[in-house]
């Protein structure tokens, strides 16, 4: 069974049109995705995002991360050199059926989001004994 290929290959670029309602330019945050026996761990770099502002949505089989970037800069600040030009982050992933989307756990620390997507109990690997006939 192809377990998590979808999670890997689909990024915001292929996200459904309705996910991109707002025309505000968005940055695609870099992620690390690692799978083990009991689930998938996703880490995303979201510097400038506070815990209150971060939105994590699971809609059907689509997981969406969206957050505005808030630097708290002074109002009279005049930009002279800018590498980060967008005001928000946006990225979507297509989940697969064996992931338990109702029990996603998320922590945000120093601008790094860690998401734990556990597998459903019946989807965890089992060892099947082969009996001698």
């Amino acid at each position: 069974m192809s377990t998590t290929q979808e999670v890997v290959t689909r990024a915001a670029a292929q996200a459904p049109q309705e996910q991109r309602q707002q025309n505000v330019p968005a940055l695609i945050p870099p992620v690390d995705i690692v799978e083990d026996d009991s689930g998938i761990t996703l880490s995303a770099d979201l510097p400038g995002v506070s815990r209150e502002a971060l939105q994590i949505r699971v809609d059907g089989d689509t997981l969406t991360l969206e957050a505005p970037i808030q630097l708290g800069e002074a109002s009279e600040l005049e930009p002279v050199y800018v590498e980060r030009r967008a005001g928000r982050y946006l990225r979507s992933f297509t989940l697969s059926r064996e992931l338990d989307s109702a029990n996603v756990a998320a922590t945000l620390k120093d601008g790094v989001l860690t998401l734990r997507l556990p597998k459903l109990e019946q989807a965890r690997p089992r060892r099947i004994e082969v009996r001698a006939s």
């Binding site: 992620v31 690390d32 995705i33 002074a74 002279v80 050199y81 590498e83 120093d110 601008g111 790094v112």
Partner: protein, 153 residues
């Protein structure tokens, strides 16, 4: 008829030009211009802005222990250096890695400060993965209002 498109009434093209210059000022250098010390847009990404009394640098450096960031100012150059570990320390036997996009390892960025920046008065704070560095300007460089005295006789 108008003699040429360039002298179109209402200075439409001049307005476009003004808009373009305003965009350049707001967004900073673009396209084929880049900072000589950051041609490849290293980690961390930085945004730099001016206020009347300071230069503010915002470095996007998530997931770093603020105590381990090495920040130095030397001869008008601000250096941000450190190390970031994103890979888990122990790799469990049955793991599959599907994405490794985040920067891992040592990093160093050098930023040229304007001439009026005062290396003695720098303060830095770290919040939500963004390092904010404020370098105060020298007193003499701040705009001052000069009183014009009335002419005598």
């Amino acid at each position: 008829m108008y003699p040429s498109l360039l002298s179109f009434p209402g200075d439409l093209f001049a307005e476009f030009d003004a808009l373009q210059r305003q965009m350049d000022r707001l967004l900073g250098p673009r396209g084929n211009t880049s900072s000589i010390r950051a041609v490849e847009r290293g980690f961390p990404a930085v945004n730099i802005g001016n206020t009347p009394d300071a230069v503010e640098v915002y470095a996007f450096a998530p997931g770093i222990d603020p105590g381990k960031i090495e920040l130095t100012v030397d001869k008008g150059l601000l250096t941000i250096a450190g190390e970031r570990r994103t890979a888990p320390p122990e790799t469990a036997p049955k793991t599959n890695v599907y994405a490794r996009e985040r920067v891992d390892g040592a990093f160093r960025r050098v930023i040229a400060l304007p001439e009026d920046a005062d290396p003695e008065r720098v303060d830095a704070s770290y919040r939500d993965g963004v390092l904010r560095i404020r370098v105060q300007r020298r007193e003499a460089a701040r705009p001052r209002r000069i009183e014009v005295s009335g002419a005598t006789a």
